[in-house]
């Protein structure tokens, strides 16, 4: 291709606070319309905002996880514009001095997507368009948001996809947000431009607002790329428009042009003090951040010898990886523990929410016990597998499910007598083996395994059987 793509993202993420940014109303999703409102978030005359300190803390946490510098003092500003979903007719946001600046997110390839800034702001209400009227739900009004702005560092849609998915995962992981795009707790504005390959200057960009799925983002960027390339080919210029993506057609359409761009008339929010975060507070927040996914993957591979695929599997959900960490800590073979979790526990849950919750009836201690029984050779892997199945169903421990006999090691003498019995009762198989059918011995091994209720070691049994038959 003659042209190359450049993309920058502005991602809005709702913070996982219980109450709103400037009042004590609930932030719960899907409440009955206009039931989670008060004079403050409705912007009734005379009401004043009071900062939710936990929102600041979560925003700082997000900044630290994205390698940003956190400002000791930042300021809240008013962004003035009139729209029915914004009852004060201004959004309290941060303009020239944001909370976090200058971070990055590293992609698998090692490429760093630079983060320009992260600022905190409040969400607006939701318009519900009906056939002849528009209803307004102010429940979302005043829910705390962060806006993460990147530099125009993306060159492919795959990079965009990876960034969004990694960001989503990271924010969920550290508890900053649930990042549910379909519920609107994560939304992206996408800035797209194209330029001739090899040139330095960026092309004129267009901004596609409010994307709520990665798939749509990819389609919108691809559409916009083609459209802009075609314009340039025809020697027409791209106009700096704000666009919306129309899902039904797969096309973008203009919302407003640069001439109609709003003048937000930013100025300091006089109703709030500056946002102060001391170095001690920053350190305390840093200490609260759990081990980040990329560090975890590294540890799983290097310390426990897991495969990259298994490590990636385990860190996908924070609960699961925490569960695994506990099993690994308590057991002799983390790798075995991982195998059980991936092999037998993942399949129990189908929805994202279930996987996130990871409500299993087996405690990490209990699974570790089972892993150790196996590692000590007290039970074999077949028995371990069936026992875990029972544990998951009944919630009982391995100790409760396995009898003393199950766990007692099979003595040499017992193995000897079992093998003899096998040879005596399976004359056909013995004859086949002697006749040169090597595989026939497996029938005898099977007999020993059955009779020993899985306790015999198949390899030792095979050796012993060969000896007897000889």
């Amino acid at each position: 291709m003659k042209y190359e793509l450049t993309v920058g993202l502005e991602t809005h993420i709702e913070l996982s606070t219980k109450s709103k940014m400037f009042c004590s109303c609930s932030t719960a999703f899907a409440g009955a319309p206009n039931t989670q409102c008060c004079p403050v978030c409705l912007g009734l005359p005379g009401s004043l905002p009071v900062m939710n300190r936990y929102a600041v803390e979560l925003a700082v946490m997000a900044g630290l996880a994205l390698n940003c510098k956190v400002a000791n003092t930042s300021y809240m500003d008013r962004k003035n514009y009139s729209y029915p979903d914004l009852p004060k007719a201004y959004q309290i946001s941060q303009y020239d001095v944001p909370l976090c600046i200058g971070g990055y997110l590293e992609l698998q390839s090692g490429k760093k997507i630079r983060i320009t800034r992260i600022h905190i702001e409040e969400d607006a209400g939701k318009l519900v368009h009906k056939e002849k009227e528009t209803l307004i739900d102010y429940n979302r009004c005043g829910v705390p948001l962060i806006e993460i702005v990147t530099e125009p560092d993306f060159c492919t849609v795959d990079e965009v996809r990876e960034y969004v998915e990694t960001l989503q995962h990271l924010m969920r992981y550290i508890g900053v947000s649930d990042c549910r795009m379909q519920e609107g707790s994560m939304r992206c504005d996408v800035n797209v431009s194209v330029r001739l390959k090899g040139t330095d200057a960026l092309g004129t960009r267009t901004e596609i607002k409010n994307m709520n799925s990665v798939a749509n983002m990819v389609r919108a960027i691809e559409y916009e790329y083609t459209r802009q390339c075609e314009l340039l080919e025809k020697e027409q210029s791209v106009t700096q428009d704000t666009l919306r993506y129309v899902e039904e057609t797969g096309k973008t359409s203009p919302m407003r042009s640069k001439e109609d761009a709003r003048d937000y008339r930013f100025f300091r929010e006089p109703d709030l003090l500056s946002v102060s975060v001391s170095d001690e507070e920053i350190k305390a927040i840093k200490d609260k951040i759990p081990e980040l996914p990329k560090d975890k993957i590294k540890r799983y591979i290097q310390t426990f010898g897991l495969t990259e695929a298994d490590a990636n599997h385990l860190i996908k959900y924070r609960r699961i990886s925490e569960y695994f960490d506990e099993v690994a800590r308590l057991s002799k073979s983390p790798k075995t523990g991982a195998k059980f979790i991936i092999g037998q526990m993942f399949s129990l849950f189908s929805t994202e929410a279930q996987k996130e919750a990871f409500a299993v009836r087996v405690t990490p201690e209990s699974l570790a016990t089972l892993v150790n029984l196996l590692a000590d050779g007290k039970i074999n892997s077949n028995l371990a597998k069936t026992t875990l199945e029972q544990m998951l169903i009944t919630g009982k421990s391995a100790d409760e499910l396995l009898s003393a006999e199950d766990m007692a090691a099979l003595s040499e003498a017992d193995l000897d007598s079992l093998c003899k019995r096998a040879v005596e009762s399976n004359t056909g198989a013995v004859a086949d083996y002697k006749g040169g059918k090597e595989k026939a011995i497996m029938a005898l091994v099977g007999f020993v395994m059955r009779e020993s209720r899985g306790k015999a070691n198949p390899e030792s049994a095979k050796e012993k059987l060969k000896e007897i038959i000889k």
Partner: protein
């Protein structure tokens, strides 16, 4: 003895019941309000219910607080739950708040008896009391004259004995100037001394709620009970718990009083006002204070700086009034919501309010912001610094409250900026976040009250009220009005 103490003693001695007292005020309001128009809403039922409650407390032998049972008024831009709060604007003429302002909650808990909501200039914009959608309030000294504003109704209610005290609001002089025109005492507290929660914002970085009453003692008592931290207002100082009443009568011997050279030399200030100020200087000297001259050159620029900042903030604060959720909505068929909002705002706001919204929108617009708003903020800081320097030389500063006494209504002024210049004596303290109390310091040849401000450093309400009290005791400028209730 102040009015409040006097009433407190009458109630405690059962010389009068709270209901009788309240009824006297309500009757006086019924009689005098049509002429003075201090009240835009009279809350007779609520007042009598509150009074009966106080009477029951007294009957049961319970101790009642100093403000208990004292009838008062509140400016109509302070939110009162269940009682319409109109800001004297067509835009909010039918608006009834669902919550109480913090100051009103505090006073209600202290047993205050609310007689009604006081008239004002629309959204507190104006200094005559004439910009009210319900009609102008009148000066009790001469009903052909303006009350001053914007807390005109509050000043009139106190001056005409239609309330013992009132809560006004002061963004650029709106408590002090009408207090001076009506011959009463009015305090603009330090920014952050009193919670603004529930005050319908005009200019958030300048607004303060302040008490108005006929004596310094009364102002002190009310201030003490409304001041102090409020979790609902982040800009309110949580550590400030003033007890100005305790130090009200302290000796002021040895105190240094500054007078501002830029006002002393100023030709816009009338000779009558100047001569009253000169008398005031002598009074302070007689009280043992030292008087010095201080320089605050930036004060000459304070009116334009104030205009830019207050209008900028107002344009943002008043943008929410769109007729969608509450307030005035224009009638007719509209092509778009934008059209509906446009027409509602055009019809709902008065001329002065629209003028200031437009000025504010203009000075904040991206191409002009650095020229107007940013510059005004820098000058505001410079003014603050000059005041700080002055307070290293003196304890308090005295200044006229207004360049002239009250003037006639319907004065025709072609250029509104000429009117704005009349706020030159008061806006500087709002810009510098300083406390200032206005009290009568003389009378004009026509018998009209002249006001003087005592300005203090931040959070020095105790000192300025102490100075004001001593001045009040040493002079005889508190006049009893022919209007209203005679105690």
């Amino acid at each position: 003895m102040g009015r409040i103490e006097q009433i407190h003693s009458l109630l405690c001695k059962k010389d009068i019941s709270c209901r009788e007292l309240t009824e006297e005020y309500l009757n006086a309001i019924q009689r005098d309000n049509p002429e003075l128009f201090a009240y835009v809403t009279v809350t007779a039922q609520e007042a009598l219910t509150a009074a009966d409650k106080i009477d029951r407390q007294i009957a049961q032998g319970g101790d009642i607080g100093m403000l208990s049972g004292v009838p008062m008024s509140i400016k109509d831009n302070i939110s009162t739950r269940g009682i319409r709060t109109t800001c004297c604007s067509k835009m909010l003429a039918d608006y009834t708040p669902v919550y109480d302002a913090s100051v009103w909650s505090k006073l209600k808990n202290s047993g205050a008896v609310l007689l009604g909501k006081a008239n004002m200039d629309e959204f507190a914009m104006g200094s005559t009391g004439e910009n009210s959608c319900f009609g102008a309030s009148s000066n009790p000294y001469n009903t052909a004259l303006v009350s001053g504003g914007s807390s005109g109704g509050s000043a009139v209610s106190v001056s005409a004995n239609l309330a013992v005290y009132s809560l006004g609001t002061d963004t650029g002089g709106s408590v002090r100037q009408p207090a001076s025109f009506c011959g009463v005492v009015g305090l603009k507290p330090t920014y952050g001394a009193v919670s603004r929660y529930g005050l319908v914002a005009f200019a958030s970085s300048l607004d303060q709620i302040g008490p108005m009453a006929s004596t310094v003692e009364d102002v002190s008592l009310v201030f003490d009970s409304i001041a102090g931290g409020d979790v609902l207002d982040s800009t309110c100082n949580r550590d400030y718990k003033p007890d100005t009443y305790k130090t009200l009568k302290d000796d002021i011997k040895g105190r240094t009083v500054g007078i501002i050279r830029q006002f002393a030399d100023n030709n816009s200030i009338s000779p009558e006002v100047k001569s009253s100020m000169n008398e005031a200087v002598k009074t302070f000297e007689d009280l043992g204070a030292k008087v010095i001259m201080v320089d605050i050159p930036e004060i000459l620029r304070s009116v334009p700086v104030y205009c830019v900042i207050s209008c900028a903030e107002a344009s943002s604060n008043l943008a929410r009034f769109d007729g969608i959720r509450y307030g005035y909505r224009a009638q007719g068929d509209f092509m778009s919501i934008h059209q509906l909002i446009c027409k509602s705002r055009s019809e709902g706001f008065g001329k002065e309010v629209k003028r200031r919204i437009m000025m504010g929108t203009n000075v904040l617009s991206s191409d002009k912001c650095s020229f107007y708003y940013d510059k005004a903020r820098a000058l505001r800081q410079a003014l603050s610094n000059e005041f700080s320097r002055a307070f290293s030389q003196c304890d308090v500063i005295i200044a006229p409250t207004a360049p002239t006494p009250a003037f006639v209504k319907n004065r025709v002024v072609a250029d509104p900026t000429v009117l704005y210049m009349e706020d030159m004596c008061t806006v500087c303290t709002n810009l510098a976040s300083l406390p200032a109390v206005s009290l009568p310091c003389g009378y004009s040849a026509q018998g009209l009250p002249i006001g003087m401000q005592i300005i203090g450093d931040k959070f020095s309400e105790s000192l300025i009220l102490n100075m004001a009290y001593k001045f009040q005791q040493a002079t005889d400028f508190m006049r009893t009005s022919d209007w209203g209730v005679k105690l």
